[in-house]
Structures are given as C-alpha cells and as structure tokens.
Symmetry: C2
Subunit: 518 residues, 2 copies
C-alpha cells in the first residue's frame, strides 16, 4: 500500500460521526496512577556522585544564606558553622538528616477518597499555580486575575479526575486585597474542590489561617489535624544560595503541625545558576537539601519533597525557556538525585508560549514527559500554564488535561497485557485474511474500554471537521470550559464545616486579615 | 518566592529583544544522532515470549497470503506449506532467516556526506510521505497535491539538517499523470536534495526507473550501485495477513540490486487487527517477519528494517487515531520485539489533527517521543503530517522540525556532562548569594552553544510578542516556510549526472512512462 492513505482509510467515512468533546467528559475514574516505566537516567553512577560531591562542597565550603533569624538560631543549635546569615553544614549531618525523611507519605484532604500518596511510583498532577494574569479566548487579551476567574479554574481543578491536587491559586485574584486574599481563595478552594489544598508561605498569619481553614473544612480536631498531613506548602529558594524569611517560616509552621513541605529551587541556568545543566542541578540540590536537613532536624521524619525547576534562559535575551532539551535533562538528572537521597520528587508542566497553540503544547508535552521520565511524584502546574507562568489559561487547562489523561491511560496495565486472550491468535484465525475485526466477539467484548476516549481532540476527518465549523483546538477547549462551568456542581460538604469556614473568614476579615508587609 | 513569577522574571524585559525565527535557521550541523537513552520496555521477558509465540503460531498455523506468484514459487522452493495464496512457515525457518538480516547497515545517497546508518543506537528522521492533499495557511484550504508543492516540501527536506532522509513523495502531485509521476518527482528529489531517496513499490517499471535514476544521480556504474545500499523502499502489508503483488515485487527487485527494504504493517487495533494492543502488535510482527524471512531466503544478509505502525481506531466512529497512549505502548512493545529479533526498527511521527494546532503537536509529540522510547532507528513522517497522513502541511513541517531538532539536541552528551567545570562549584563560589551568572567567565565561555536555539518558537514575553504582531505559531511557521523557499539553493550536482537524469526522464516519458494498471 505504500502508505498512500486513500486505500487504508476505511474508517474515514464513519469518522464523520465522531463524538465531540464536551462537558460529558467520559473521563476515567479518580485514581492515582503508578509510573511503571523505568526512569530515564542520563547520568552514570559517577555523574550522580559528581553532582552529590558538588552539592556537598557547596554546603560545606560556600554555605546557604538564611534570611530567617529563627532558622539561624536552629542552625547554631545544630552545630552548623554560622556566619551572619550564611550557614555551612557538613555532609555527614546533611545525609543523616535527609535519611530521616520518609520516601513516601499521604496527604488527606477533607474528602478522604481524595487522599494522595506522595512517593514511590505514584505520579500526581496539579493545576497551574500563581500566575498574576488570566486570558481566555472570549476576552482575547491578558488581564489581571480576579476571584471569579480563580474560582472558575478551581472548578476545572475539581472537574478533572486527572488533576489530583489543588495547588496554589490557579490565578492570583488581584481584585481581592492581599490582606484577605488567602481567606477568600481558600474558602473557594475548600468549598469548590475536595482535593488536597496548599498554603502559600507568605507570612505567619496566612499560613496559620490556611491551616485552620483546612482543619475546619475537614471537620477535624486540632489533634486529628496534626496527626498526619492534610495539606502542604511549596517553597522556592532565592537562588543563588538563599532561603528567604517567609518561605522558611511557613515550612517550619507546617512541619511542626504535621503537614508536608516541598522545597523547589528555581534555578535558571545562565541567570541565577551556572550555565551548565549539571551545575544548575548541583546548585538546586544544595539549596533544597539544606532546607530539608533543617526541617528534618526540627521534626525528624517530617514529610518533605525535593522539587526541580531547572531550566535555561535564552542567552540572547535573558528570557526564560521551558520544555527545552536542557530542561528535560535537568529534570531527569534531578530525578536520579532524588532517588539517590530517597526523597519524593516534584517536577512541573511548563512552557514559554503566550497562547494555547502548537508551541505551548510541544513545550508542555516535553515538560510533562520529562516529569514522567524523571520518576517525578508530583507534577505541579500540569494544567493551564502559559507565558512562563505569568498567564493562567482555561483553554490551555483543558488541552493539558487531555495530555495528562493520556499519560494516565498510558500507565494502565491492560495496554501492555500479554495473556493469551490479549495475544488473540484465535481472533486472528477467526478473521483470517479477508475479514475485519470490528464485528467479532473478541472486539465486542472489549470495545467500550479498549482505547482512550478524548474530550477535546477532534479525530474526525478534514471534511467532517470542516462541516462541523472547522474549529481549532483552542476554540474547542473554550467550549469545553464553558460546558464544564455550566454543569458544575460543587462536591458535597457538611453544613457544619461550611458554616465554620464562613464564620472563620468573617472573623478574620473583621480582624483585618493578614499583614501585607511581609 | 512561592512561584509568583513577578519576582523571578528578571529576564522579562530583556526578552523583548528575543530573536525571531527565520530562514537564518541557526540550526545544528548535519549529523546522525545517537539515542543514548535506555529504551522504555513495558513488556517483561514473558511478554516478549508471548508475542513471539503468538507470531510464530500465526505463521505456522494460520499463514500469510501472498498475492505475488513469484513469491509463492519461492516459498514452495523454500519448503513452506503453500495452499493457494496462503503460506505457512515453521518457526525454525523464520528464526534462521531473520538471523541473517544485519542489525546495522548504511545507505549512501549521491552526496556521500549524507550517508545514513540504520540500526544500533542511530535515530534518523524523514519527511512526511504520501499525503494526497496539501494545505497551507495562505491557501486556507485542503487541495490535491501538485508538483510545485511537492518540490517546495522537498526544499524543506533539504533545508533542515534534522531531516536525514527524503522519504516518499512529501505530497502526491496529482497534477502529474501517474504514468510519469515517479519520473518528475524523483528528478525533483534527486536535484533539490542530496539525501537518501526512496522508491515506491508500485509496479516493476517504477521501481526499475527509480533505481536507475538514483544510480545516474550518483554517477555510479551498475556494479557500484549494486555493491551497497544507495536507496530503499518501504512496504505495508495488507493487514490482516496479506502481502500484495507490487509491494513484494518491489522489495524483491531492490534486494536483488543490493538495496534496502523496510516492512511496515499498518495494523489498526479494532479494525484490521485485534482490539488488544498486544494482539495488534503480534499480527504486525507476524506479517513483517514473514516478508523479511522471504527476503533473507532470496538474498541472505540483505538490509531489512522492521516497521511499526500500530495504532487504534476510535471505536465510536472507526476513525484512526494517532499518538494515543495505545499507539505509544504498541510502538514501545514493537521496539522490544525488534531487539529480540535483532532487526532495526522504523516508527513514525503522526497525528489525527486536521490543522497545525495544539492537538497536532501533542499527538505528534507523543508519537515522536514513543519512537525515541522504543529505540526506533528510522522515524518516518517525522515532519509535515496532518489528518492521519491525508494532508501535507509546510507549517506543520516547520513546527515538527523544531521538535525534532530539540530531540536531537536532547541527545547531545554535553547536556548531561558532569566534569568538574560542569558541576561549576568555583563559579557558584564566585557568584555567591548576591550575584548573577550572566557576566562571569564560566558563562561567557559557554553561552553561545550552551542551549538549544529555536527557529520558530517565540520565547518573548506576552507584551513583546503582542507588540510584534501577536503571531501564533502556525503563522510564524508560514513565514519561516517562505523565508526558506526564497533563500533556497539546491545542493551542488555534477552537470553530467544532472544531464543523464534529464535524458533518462525524457526518454522514459517518450516511452510512455510506467503502466498504471498495477
């Protein structure tokens, strides 16, 4: 046939009737996928040792700055060499502390059925977090985020079973004053979703407020809340070589309350990190291990995740790039280091693209696949990110969810099952050289669940697609977005819990919310 | 920093000056990348054995139909059990024959510097082949292909160093009569490119004509041509369980002339193959091995590639899907089988999308990454494919070349180098906790080649991108397309060779070209 499709496109006509995406998502049930692929390991053992050795030398010889006085005091007590804000620690201490961190733990949100397991072969995906701006196709331009847009993106976070946790604010609602923003968004998040929530480490008051709100939303006593992780925070170091005040403060508060922390240096090779990818990874590892060692010293065994966010800049402009080959290799290398230290790994979906087009999807696809290849346990920003994290896009959210759903489907064991009925010699014999597999029993028994079913992809042929309006993917995603919003129902919540939350928000607003001078 | 990008976007302003894509592609030099990643292997050894056992049972118990009388005679001579068109062969014979195939070989086009190595860790990418239709953004609609469009896509094939071979017709020029189409397209291909060319197995006259044209273009004697591979053909079986006349005829002609063949069953699970992926792969393996065994019997040691093109249909419409999770796993499983048999592997870039948008890029990205993960040696259709292979798109070609170039960059060893200067402890010490890596010597020494440099991606921030016209990726690709065409210079060619080609085409046209009743 020479791959001239005219002859092999038997399904072309039937494709006219292909189902279109819509609010009826036909998605898989909620579950935590297991990444059963062997990780991609570009480093040989000597390479792992070289990065480890480099990170240890940074910690021993150069040190990390802590802009947090409490941390400085703790470091002194722990026997570190402290000089002003600079903290140097020996490798034996680092390794002893890091070894105390669990390789796997759970976080249980208000709906226990949405509990997530962090570590091992589990791979979790979360929504985009923290863009200051929002853009959708009906607006047609980039605007500062609002509470309504934020809530709508939280509805998407809840609607998609492939999204396992509600990360940071999916867009920063700058129409809400910073002093009470955390109260409003957390109220929305804890009522519109029943998935694991996050607290920004942006000052003591916010962190304490969010912990209290998560406790109230779950109807938990103080002891029940503190008994195990119900939420987490994620911090970035201020590369190079610095941890700032509120980040460390937030983590200390969470670990003392039994909650989980993720430490994610953001090291852009060529800017705040060495131009070499191994160098950028080494710096990232040193910064992360320093903080994790501190937390393990304060609360041995507290749940910690090591994060990677190492990419490169465009050396001609300084613009950050994402989903590049360098980004992929850095993510994979950090995965090897995370396994070396026995820590769960966080990576990201990300892109530099400004609109939900082809570039956005190849960059994000590269980032997501590198997360898979690295053995990442937590994939931040997996849906909805544009412009290097400066724009939240609902269309991109929908499109990313298709890719993430396919990744989750990819890990279903039935795809690679090789029992006799999978090998199907009898079915092949039955059909012979002149038949078709559509109608036979072997197919009929399996066709409903045999293959991934898309919700925004259009698999129809060109003519059917054209007759249907010639709708490109972002516009289809826009429709799906509105279909989800119009049919959205918030997850059930006990009246008492909801009432307690409302009461707390009112009271804290009356008290003036959180200071904004952190 | 909590990943609120406002603070970490130091490069944002500088990004205004980011270089735009253009004909000045800044691409890497021509080279054959080595896939140094361990392949992704979803099958355990028992799974490989189960597929092998299934394929052997198909060949022994069910048999493959050969619609080619010469092949039937050869099979009788070889001791196969022949019943009409049906041919059954024992596993010992199959394995004995397949073992004769080389695991690696070269193909040398008219420019020896463009020689490709097929097998081992080498990974080669080729242009889209065989779509009957063409679409570009200035046309705005799908039209039957023309010679001019075909030639323009051949110019792209030549322009991009990431494209290693010129596969089939990048679009079928239906404005040229089928009797002489091969003459005109091969003339264009052999003059506009100096990369490895391909002959469609569409009847004896075409195959013989193309071999002669490749010989003339290279200025080779008959003996020189036959001494080693200078070209190849690719055939598809007529699944289920059939090889048709011209496909087998073409392969027999090529291997007897010392040229290379690729055997690629096209097995759509649920349509012409079992609904189970392992079953579809098993059928594909059986069909391919049958033909390869035949070829090895005829010419022991002749260069053969086993191809995979196993995907699934949308069970609701029958429409073929590409780049699905099922497609990825089938490709990886076939990779394991190819290594089991010691044969080089061919896979593909592909998508169901009708336009060069996000869906096109995530489907193609999935397909391309699964080719990488499977250890594929030859990646067909890697640039320019839309609508399940029914449309050739120059914009998609450009966009795919960005992805392919990134994959090739991904395999450069420097990305994961861990020598002391890569770990960069001294640079980290020099910059300390308050500096920046931009200006230091360690960066200056490396910045020009440190990172992948894009030609169609736009990495500028939103405001700069908007000021620049808010151009989405397909439109940028359209511009790059025309920039490449306007600056295109054909590769050098000896006057004698060009003259001989011209003469041959004129003579064969006078003789009426090839019969069109194959």
């Amino acid at each position: 046939m020479n791959e001239q499709p005219r002859r092999r496109r038997a399904g072309g006509r039937a494709a006219n009737t292909a189902r279109r995406g819509g609010a009826d998502l036909h998605q898989s049930d909620w579950r935590i996928p297991l990444n059963t692929d062997a990780p991609t390991e570009p480093l040989r053992p000597e390479g792992v040792q070289a990065i480890h050795e480099g990170a240890m030398r940074i910690l021993e010889e150069i040190g990390i700055d802590y802009l947090n006085p409490e941390a400085i005091e703790i470091w002194k007590e722990a026997g570190a060499i402290v000089s002003g804000e600079n903290v140097r620690i020996g490798r034996d201490f680092v390794m002893e502390m890091v070894a105390k961190a669990p390789s796997q733990f759970t976080i249980t949100p208000r709906n226990p059925a949405r509990e997530i397991t962090v570590g091992g072969k589990h791979i979790l995906f979360g929504n985009v977090s923290s863009p200051p701006n929002y853009m959708d196709l009906s607006l047609g331009r980039k605007v500062p985020g609002t509470r309504e847009q934020c809530a709508n993106l939280l509805r998407l976070t809840q609607a998609f079973n492939c999204i396992h946790f509600a990360g940071g604010y999916p867009v920063e609602p700058v129409d809400v004053h910073a002093s009470v923003r955390h109260l409003d968004v957390l109220f929305d998040k804890l009522t519109l979703t029943d998935k694991v929530a996050h607290a920004y480490s942006l000052g003591p008051a916010r962190v304490e407020d969010v912990m209290e709100m998560v406790r109230l939303a779950g109807g938990l006593s103080e002891d029940e809340f503190r008994a195990r992780p119900h939420m987490y925070t994620n911090i970035n170091s201020s590369s190079p070589l610095k941890h700032d005040y509120p980040m460390i403060d937030g983590c200390l508060r969470l670990i003392r309350a039994g909650q989980a922390v993720m430490v994610t240096p953001f090291t852009l090779a060529g800017a705040m990190a060495p131009v070499t990818m191994a160098g950028a990874v080494t710096l990232s590892i040193a910064e992360a291990l320093s903080a994790i060692a501190l937390f393990q010293y304060v609360r041995p065994g507290c749940p910690c995740v090591i994060g990677t966010f190492t990419s490169n800049v465009d050396m001609k402009s300084g613009a950050p790039a994402f989903g590049t080959p360098e980004y992929m290799r850095a993510t994979q290398m950090t995965g090897q280091m995370a396994r070396f230290y026995g820590l769960p790994l966080r990576a990201s979906g990300s892109c530099a693209a400004n609109v939900p087009d082809g570039q956005a999807m190849w960059e994000t696809g590269n980032a997501l696949w590198s997360a898979v290849q690295s053995g990442a346990n937590v994939v931040y920003h997996a849906a909805g990110w544009l412009e290097g994290g400066l724009i939240a896009s609902p269309e991109k959210f929908i499109m990313d969810c298709e890719v993430i759903s396919m990744i989750q489907r990819y890990f279903e064991p039935e795809l690679v099952a090789t029992e006799p009925e999978d090998i199907a010699v009898d079915a092949i014999r039955e059909v012979g050289s002149h038949g078709h597999f559509f109608g036979i029993q072997h197919t009929q028994d399996r066709y409903e669940t045999a293959f991934y079913s898309p919700f925004v992809s259009d698999w129809r042929n060109f003519e059917a697609w054209e007759l249907g309006g010639a709708v490109w993917t972002p516009e289809r995603a826009h429709r799906v977005y509105h279909e989800i919003l119009s049919s959205f129902e918030p997850p059930p919540m006990a009246d008492a819990a909801r009432g307690a939350l409302e009461e707390f928000v009112i009271r804290r607003k009356e008290e003036g919310g959180a200071p904004t001078d952190f």
